[in-house]
């Protein structure tokens, strides 16, 4: 506190644009909330230690779910109770980053109890701030695992009874029994003296991580005036008088001095670093081959495809083939498989998008093209197809035309053609050939060139090319007829 001014920390955004609304300069927290105060102490420490560029804060589910509105650091919001697992992943991939898991008592001590215990037990070199206010604040004041004996909440209206709901869980004591954690302390946001201890604990827990020492855990007792149905000043009083009795303050474990400070080596987060980690090539600024939009008739451009059939018919590979060839041709593409637990004989379908523009959702709920390789698939998905859409069926297995009359229907005896080629399993490639020939969405050379990317057994590539050519021929013969 050598600074001559106490002001808004630089590690907060000047305006909370992610929050938006009429008051984007203030937090969403209730008057007097402890989260805001702890946020300030953490932000101030990040400023003072100069670690903003390498700090990643994991926000939980609970009132502090929106911590990413406020902190001008890296942010990830995790599934309920899973912040320690997310923090583990980030810290292990980027050991030089400063990873903070910020969690409330519903998140850390209820749904995520095992998650935090395992992370602590592994001694992940992260910092955990655990805000304990003895209640579920966000959902309207229900009983939490940390609710005091006799405390009235909406789900313990007569007061918590040990015989019914057990005792308040003391997380600091529990974690301090483990071998791996190096620093465990419980502090309280009450008066000026205790607030100073919170400030010191925050700094120590982050310094431990900068020195790469080990797992640090700070439990912060905090008020919830709204949940407790008190004024902020009454709430501070209740925290001081009642809550500290149930949750004694103090250092429960500290072996940080016994460990030598050795700043972490390894990756620092950067987009380039992430690409290297994931083994991705350099990002292409422009598509490798510009897409020739005009070759494709307008109604077949930017298709949203759904393809379905029995497991084993090669439905997923058909989708993969269209997506891969599309990508090679310079389209934006997506592919999502969906199948039952059976490898063979079940049903399978997949969603594919090919677009000259970036794809918002990879899900295809209203396909423009439906490829149905059997009758049940046709019946199941025909109603989803947009009016005027295209349906391609395998004439060998789908003997009836679709009931809808507002659709274009192409019937290809794919399985029969494949059988004549000597392998019924290339029926999917016959369909692929028919589709590209009919809609002119892709040229055959691009498709042939893409085959080695998704066909593992190289000796089968020739057969697949034959099948695609047969599919293309089937269309030209249809058009002639």
């Amino acid at each position: 506190m050598a600074e001559k001014v106490l002001k808004r920390a630089d590690s907060f955004y000047p305006i909370f644009e992610r929050k938006g609304g009429p008051t984007p300069d203030v937090t969403h927290y209730c008057p007097g909330c402890g989260h805001g105060v702890l946020h300030k102490l953490i932000a101030e420490t990040i400023d003072d230690f100069g670690i903003r560029d390498r700090t990643i804060l994991i926000s939980p589910v609970g009132c502090s779910v929106f911590a990413y509105y406020y902190f001008r650091t890296g942010n990830i919001q995790s599934a309920h109770g899973r912040a320690p697992a997310v923090a583990t992943g980030i810290k292990r991939v980027f050991p030089q980053s400063i990873v903070i898991s910020y969690q409330g008592d519903g998140d850390l001590a209820a749904i995520g109890t095992n998650n935090i215990l395992q992370a602590a037990n592994r001694g992940e070199k992260i910092t955990v701030f655990f805000v304990n206010n003895a209640i579920y604040g966000m959902t309207g004041g229900q009983m939490a695992p940390t609710t005091l004996i006799g405390q009235k909440t909406t789900t313990s209206p007569m007061g918590r009874k040990p015989g019914n709901e057990g005792f308040p869980i003391r997380m600091s004591e529990l974690i301090a029994t483990l071998h791996a954690p190096i620093y465990v302390e419980r502090v309280a946001l009450t008066d000026a003296k205790n607030s100073t201890r919170v400030r010191k604990a925050v700094r120590k827990a982050l310094q431990n991580q900068i020195d790469n020492k080990g797992f640090s855990f700070v439990e912060v007792l905090s008020v919830c005036p709204s949940g407790w149905k008190m004024t902020p000043v009454q709430a501070k009083e209740w925290l001081t008088q009642e809550m500290i009795k149930a949750f004694p303050l103090g250092v429960y474990k500290d072996i940080s001095d016994e460990i030598e400070a050795q700043p972490a080596k390894g990756n620092v987060f950067s987009v380039q670093g992430l690409r290297e980690q994931l083994n991705l090539p350099e990002e292409k600024v422009a598509p490798a081959t510009p897409v020739n939009k005009t070759a494709t008739p307008e109604k077949y451009r930017n298709p949203r495809l759904k393809m379905a059939g029995f497991g084993g018919q090669g439905i997923l590979m058909l989708g993969l083939g269209i997506a891969q060839a599309g990508m090679d041709a310079g389209y934006e593409v997506s592919w999502i498989p969906s199948y039952g637990p059976e490898m063979r004989g079940g049903t399978a379908n997949c969603h594919v998008n090919l677009s000259t523009e970036r794809i918002g959702s990879p899900l295809v709920t209203r396909p423009t093209v439906l490829i149905a390789m059997n009758l049940p698939s046709l019946e199941k998905f025909v109603d989803e197809v947009v009016p005027g859409g295209l349906i391609i069926t395998d004439a060998s297995l789908v003997t009836q035309p679709p009931a809808r009359k507002d659709l274009e229907h192409l019937s290809i005896p794919a399985t029969q053609i494949a059988d004549e080629l000597g392998n019924t399993r290339v029926a999917n490639m016959v369909i692929l050939g028919a589709y590209i020939a009919y809609t002119q969405i892709l040229d055959q050379e691009t498709v042939f060139a893409s085959l080695p990317h998704f066909i593992k057994q190289k000796s089968l590539i020739g057969l697949n090319i034959q099948a695609i050519k047969k599919g293309i021929e089937s269309i030209s013969s249809q058009i002639k007829n």
Binding site: V5, K7, R8, I15, P31, G36, Y70, A192, K236
Partner: protein, 85 residues
């Protein structure tokens, strides 16, 4: 405010529109120089106010206030401009 020569005495500045009227700063102030104002701010709270003199720059109010920018405390001897956002 002219702060080029260094502040002769500490002062606290409250951004009324960011105050949610929780009263924690008023409650903690050892010099009792903060008070609840009668008017309502844009969010419908009675914001805290400063009497104008008597601040000792202890910073207790700053560390009670949950809002990132509602309170700024300038200590005695502070040199520089008034803090913007």
């Amino acid at each position: 405010m002219d702060l080029e020569k260094g502040l002769e005495s500490a002062r606290v500045v409250i951004r009324e529109d960011e105050c949610k009227g929780c009263g924690l700063c008023i409650n903690i102030c050892p010099e009792k120089v903060l008070f609840e104002q009668k008017h309502l701010n844009r969010m419908g709270y009675h914001p805290a106010g400063y009497l104008g003199t008597g601040c000792i720059g202890c910073g207790f109010c700053f560390y009670q206030c949950p809002e990132p920018g509602a309170i700024t405390v300038y200590k005695k001897g502070y040199v520089g401009e008034e803090v913007e956002r």
